[in-house]
Amino acid sequence: MAPERARRGRRSWKRYSSRTFYLFVSPWIIGFTLLTALPLGYALLVSLTNFNGRTDRWRWIGLRNYRELFGDADAVASLVRTLAYTAIAVPLMVAGGLGLAVLLNRRLKGVGLFRTIFFLPSVVPVVAMAIMWKLILNRDAGILNALLEKVSIGPIAWLVDPNAFYALIILTLWGLGGGMVIMLAALQGVPAELEEAAAVDGASRWHVLRHITVPMISPAIFFQVVTGVIAALQIIIQPLLLAETNQVGSVAQVPQNTHLFMVQVYQEFFANNRYGYGSAMLWVFFLVILLITVVVQRSSRLWVHYEVDSEADR
């Protein structure tokens, strides 16, 4: 009698618990369905049409948008540019964040102040960031060219082709403090004895960093690479806001060199009213990002050391 009742009690408790679980996570499930899955599915349908966003006169055109995309030199060029930007910006971001973290990971007075200073730019809103750097990089009135002139380097037009690309990289690097904080937290988990022991053994500082510190914090570095790649691929606001233009947000005046893939998508949607074609671009990009993420994840087996594996060594 008693175990029977207990079992029934347990089952109804299980049901209660399961129902409560779904009740608690329902905001996300509903939100994900309506605000992530639905828009993506909708974009997939629109990508098979010639919808222009205005009139309701559209028709199914099958895969024609996709076929056009592979022959679209501008789109392909912007994708290549985006990949190049990612390949340059992410290693610089990760290395810079790691470098700053290593610098700050010692017992020096005032380290907290420096940490605040380096972390600060990463919370500055992108609009303010763009305004600040346009003031610095301004060809005539900017401080950078004024300083360069002191060493007789003529005025450089930073915000137009071909230099706009470097301006974008500089803007990106200024915000590397977020990554630095993650690396710093990881570094503080590395046992000091390990590094000291190696140093006493005569290992050079570079050697210690390369063969002990970096492998120890490789999960944090890996996390930085993954989030950095995804952030870099989807970048759109920075090129729009850095463009020297009278009409902010107008795609037409974004320099060729910072005309990245999402800028191209934005242009197809809102300047050319080609919603169908733009949706096809979004989906191709979605698949490209998925592919890159998988490749990065796979590569992690070669160079990321998780605590569990190294346990045996220690």
Binding site: T20, P27, L40, V46, F114, F118, V127, A128, I143
Partner: protein, 298 residues
């Protein structure tokens, strides 16, 4: 890891001249580190300083060649013009309203979802959690444009409803933050409440939420700054009268010829970043918790 094995013998070799040499080396090291840190600090702080300097210059001083570092007299009038040339208070109000609205909603919804994933059991919980983690990796811009198209058809563009919906939908990033925190709370607490006949709704509200004040602050401050700093969503979803300060500052300051009004815009941008910087300086540990907590304990 062969280094650890050989290290045991090492301390014996430490002789006095050796340590003196090392102490000297450490001192020059520290000096070098400070020099490097100072230089880097100038690079990181420089843009703020140059912004404020631009904000207190006359237009002539701003375009002067060679560039003048300091103005003759501080043009505080640029700030008054920044406040009056456009309807600054209205845009500020819109920004504050949307930021508070979204931050409160998303903090509460993410806490609830995080609690569900941390403390409750249900069919399909694991695949759901993996789905949540993978959406953290999904670029938001991919869904933003189709969402705009859908919302435009549903008549939700030029209203604040999108922010309500985004807030209610919880943020995967914050869900993960809450989930990690709730999962670390000992089970005895909850077991005792269950035995007393307490439902999970009350356990969440009366036991877990009061315990999680630091994470609540982290989530609130992070999400507040997301909306405060966002440009693309208000630019797409809101008309120029209902838009936020970020959009207004980026594009609405014009001189009579229609060119960007650099000095007044700089003053406005300075006013716009001050709240973020103030929040950051006073609550830095919450931001660090937010950045680190999501990144490491995966």
């Amino acid at each position: 890891m062969t280094i650890t094995q050989t290290s045991a013998a090492a301390p014996a070799t430490g002789t006095p001249p050796h340590t003196a040499h090392r102490r000297r080396r450490r001192r020059t090291d520290a000096a070098g580190a400070y020099l490097l840190l100072m230089t880097l600090a100038v690079l990181f702080v420089g843009p703020f300083v140059w912004l404020v300097l631009a904000a207190v210059k006359t237009k002539a001083e701003w375009v002067a060649i060679p560039a003048e570092v300091l103005p003759d007299t501080f043009q505080w009038g640029n700030f008054t013009r920044a406040l009056t040339e456009i309807n600054f208070p209205a845009y500020l109000g819109n920004s504050l309203f949307l930021s508070f609205l979204y931050a409160i909603l998303v903090t509460m919804s993410s806490a609830a979802v995080g609690f569900g994933f941390a403390r409750l059991r249900g069919h399909g919980k694991r695949p759901l959690f993996l789905l949540l983690l993978s959406t953290m990796m999904l670029p938001q811009i991919l869904t933003l444009i189709p969402t705009y198209v859908l919302f435009a058809r549903a008549g939700l563009v030029d209203t604040y409803w999108p922010w309500v919906l985004w807030g209610l939908a919880a943020s995967p990033y914050l869900v993960f933050l809450f989930r990690q925190f709730f999962a670390a709370i000992p089970a005895e607490l909850e077991d005792a409440a269950v035995i007393d006949g307490c439902g999970y709704g009350r356990i969440f509200l009366q036991i877990f939420l009061p315990l999680s004040r630091p994470v609540l602050w982290t989530a609130f401050l992070l999400s507040f700054t997301w909306i405060w700093g966002d440009y693309i969503a208000p630019a797409l979803f809101l008309d120029p009268d209902h838009t936020t300060l970020s959009v207004a500052i980026a594009g609405f300051y014009r001189d009579p010829h229609g060119n960007p009004d650099a000095t007044v815009q700089a003053a406005a941008a300075a006013l716009y970043v001050v709240p973020v910087l103030a929040i950051f300086l006073f609550a830095q540990r919450y931001f660090i918790r937010g950045v680190v907590g999501s990144g490491l304990k995966g």
